[in-house]
Amino acid sequence: MTTTVPVLTVEELAVQFRTGREIVRAVNGASFAVHKGEMTAVLGESGSGKSVTATAIMRLLQSPPALVSGGVIRFEGTDILDLTEHAWRKMLGAKIGMVLQDALTALNPVYPVGKQISEVFRVHGERNRRVAYDKTIALMERVGIPDPVTRAEDYPHQFSGGMRQRVMIAMAIALQPTLLIADEPTTALDVTVQAQIMDLITGISREFGMAVLLITHDIGVVMDYADHVAVMYAGRVVESGRVGEVLRHPLHPYTKALLRSAPQALAKGSRLNPILGTPPDMANPPSGCSFHPRCPSATELCRAVAPPRYVTEARLAECHYAETADEYA
């Protein structure tokens, strides 16, 4: 499976924010790939740089203060950071779709949703209103909005959270893009609706053969839906690989800690195991391995030297002790 050419590759992406006197390195060398027909999840806690990565891929970062200071983002073979503004805008929506976290703020409150969805077709060259409207109704049907003809006339505030997210998804997939970026699509929803939305996203990506980049902090969602996972910590991808392997045999202590901290249905009565400490201040990152202040098995080596990449056929981990990790897992 992994032999296919990736739809999207991110290599050594670095993003800085200049705030007053300091420079915050929000993303500091992140690398991962997204393949056709598969879902790659970027997993990390808040402040790990996962949303900044997604925004950088969309080229939506406000510059200044943000600056993509290094790395390559390759979409279908072309480096998107080299494209002109105009050429890039033509690809947005048409080749790359995006679903944002909170659909209420992401939809314009003054237009009916049907109009907003059909606007996507019209911006991308559909001149006939009637055709755009018919496509909109079919699309709303596809994403599971009941009675689309009536609902198309309703405004965003008249929709429930789940239905709004369906509208967002409809807009993102309207032109059948090859890549769908979903930035925490279910964070604002409750668990039952979350499952419906994730089922919808996976169903549609299978149907259209879309690649999906899922940004999330929810390890459960990753386990249930993603094919690949890239675990981000302090602006770097510290571990990546197929979901089954990474989560069953984590090589990086951070991944292990994440797994331990997730609530378990069977562990009734026992306390949760949070990761001690807080994520590092990215204006003054720690020396050596950025995880060492919170790592239970940190050594002198970890404090002094940044870990090399430990790479096997389908795995990647950035830890001095990745090779021997399985032994004391």
Binding site: L92, G93, V120, V123, D147
Partner: protein, 309 residues
């Protein structure tokens, strides 16, 4: 597939949607009265002006400063001016100049200020700096002085008068628009529109301007009254609209000399200005409610008992 309850629901929704616009106006009584008053003004402009333009110029020295009443006939119902010209026809005839000048001034100022403000707020950077310093320049001049200079250099025609007043008003719209746009452009739906391939022009036109317009509309209705008065100030200085042409503002400033002896000279045109501005304000607030999807139900809600019939 559709259960009866869903079908009934859909039906009530479609009924709610079909509330006609006149019924929405009927439900908002102050706006209804305002609409009638504005309709009356429009009638004055198009029908009243040709009808009464001769009567308004008839000098009748026996009716100098006549008090309101029927003593001097129906035309002098609201009294007469120092030359005995009947006030009521003069008000009707003056409506045309007043509405034309004040109306075009605020519309031009809103358009220019709105466009410049959106560009300044949305593009930022050097564009913002240039436009805002231009606005500073406009507002640092006393507006009357600016008008005097421009009208002295150019000739004092109606078109130039409108232009000058519009220029002095532009800065208000410009600043308000810029402030709103600065907030709006950070909203997530603007990002979302960009993420789906919308161009800057598309975002400004489709996503930002509809959110700014209600605010500008409100300022416009308030501005309307003060433009009428500054137009009269220019007339008073001899560079605005000159007698024998009539405007409400001119009538107010002429009547000011007789406030102690003949209050009606300034009172009735003043009342006309106030009622027109108030009506414009009430109607604009109604328009805003109707066009705001989250507020519209306030006018639509009473429809509910009707669906039970």
């Amino acid at each position: 597939m559709t259960t009866p309850s869903i079908a009934a629901d859909a039906e009530s929704v479609s009924i709610r949607r079909s509330v006609p616009i006149w019924l929405l106006l009927w439900r908002d009584k102050p706006a209804l009265v305002a609409a009638f008053w504005l309709l009356l003004i429009v009638a004055c402009v198009f029908v009243g002006h040709p009808l009464f333009v001769d009567d308004a110029a008839v000098v009748n020295l026996s009716a100098r400063n006549a008090a309101p009443g029927f003593e001097h006939g129906f035309l002098n119902l609201l009294g007469a001016d120092p030359l005995g010209r009947p006030l009521l026809p003069r008000l009707i005839v003056g409506a045309r100049n007043t509405v034309m000048v004040a109306g075009s001034v605020v519309v031009i100022a809103l358009t220019a200020g709105g466009i410049l403000g959106m560009l300044a707020g949305y593009l930022g950077g050097i564009v913002n700096t240039v436009i805002m310093r231009f606005a500073d320049l406009l507002s640092s001049f006393p507006s009357l002085l600016l008008a005097l200079i421009v009208l002295y250099v150019l000739e004092p025609s109606v078109a130039n008068l409108i232009l000058v007043l519009a220029i002095t008003r532009t800065a208000i719209y410009l600043r308000v628009t810029r402030a709103e746009v600065l907030e709006l452009r950070e909203r997530v739906f603007v990002d979302a529109a960009r993420a789906l391939g919308g161009s800057n022009a598309h975002i400004l036109y489709k996503h930002i301007s509809p959110m700014v317009l209600p605010t500008l509309g409100t300022i416009l209705t308030i501005d309307f009254a003060s433009v009428m008065l500054s137009e009269s100030a220019l007339s008073f200085l001899g560079i605005g609209i000159q007698p024998p042409e009539v405007t409400w503002g001119l009538m107010v400033s002429q009547g000011r000399n007789y406030l102690a002896s003949a209050w009606w000279l300034a009172f009735f045109p003043g009342l006309a200005i106030m009622l027109t501005a108030l009506s414009a304000n009430l109607l604009s607030s109604w328009i805003r409610t109707v066009n705001d999807p989250t507020q519209r139900w306030r006018l639509e809600a009473p429809a509910k008992p009707r669906t039970k019939e």
